[in-house]
Symmetry: C2
């Protein structure tokens, strides 16, 4: 009887952990879609709102960027450069309590300078953290290009 | 009296957490120095041994690289290209149990193709994890260049 109760408890605990993990995945998937949508309508302020106030962005060919105001400026510069069709795809996602570490790939299109557009793609690591009310935000964000 | 005991317990617990954090910092500092030294003597196999067997490297202008054999090939290609004087500097390090997330900067020198050498620098995110016996290894590694 004791063994049965223990087995059930372990089963319930395992299921709760699995549920919590699934929840993190689906919450971060929602935040990722909403980030994409904000960028693709050219709303750099809405993109920046997906980052924590003390977030850090390490963009290729740029110095380190800290804080939402500077992060908004960075994304605004991409909007003004005509970058569009941002697509983010999560490849790996590992949850460690209040943080989650993601590897993903991106694709986008940008003007080629001759009136046409070019596709480019790359890969990224995002460290996600929850804010005070448990909403997932980007905390560290770094990416680089594919060959 | 109860309050005193509680205060002492909290003090001890806080000190233990601080000690554990300091330990992670100094352990990862040692592993970083050893990584640098391995690369700077041209030993790509020793560099690769700092990664977990299932580690991932996201290098600029390259596709995703998984596993120590491929990681060793990548570092061997840098050795053969004449990259030297690798210096790694930890800027932020956050420990979450069995993982630790780091932001750092690097500098290196490489042949400029005209018989001289050029300095270049960049920034990185490393996700560290401990192996079975508690030794810190690189698990995810991504970097890009400074302007």
């Amino acid at each position: 009887m004791k063994l049965l109760v223990e087995s059930i408890l372990i089963l319930v605990a395992t299921s709760l952990v699995t549920l919590a993990q699934a929840d993190v995945h689906s919450e971060i998937a929602k935040r990722t879609s909403s980030f994409e949508a904000a960028f693709n309508r050219g709303d750099a302020a809405a993109v920046a709102a997906h980052y924590l106030p003390d977030a850090t962005v390490l963009a290729p060919g740029a110095t380190r960027i800290d804080g939402r105001a500077e992060i908004q400026n960075l994304w605004q510069s991409y909007v003004e450069a005509g970058v569009k069709d941002l697509q983010l795809t999560t490849v790996d996602l590992e949850n460690h309590g209040e943080t989650a570490n993601e590897i993903g790939t991106y694709s986008l299109s940008a003007p080629d300078g001759n009136g046409s557009r070019v596709q480019s793609s790359g890969k990224y690591v995002i460290i996600w953290k929850t804010d005070d009310i448990g909403v997932w935000h980007l905390y560290w964000d770094i990416w680089n290009d594919m060959p």
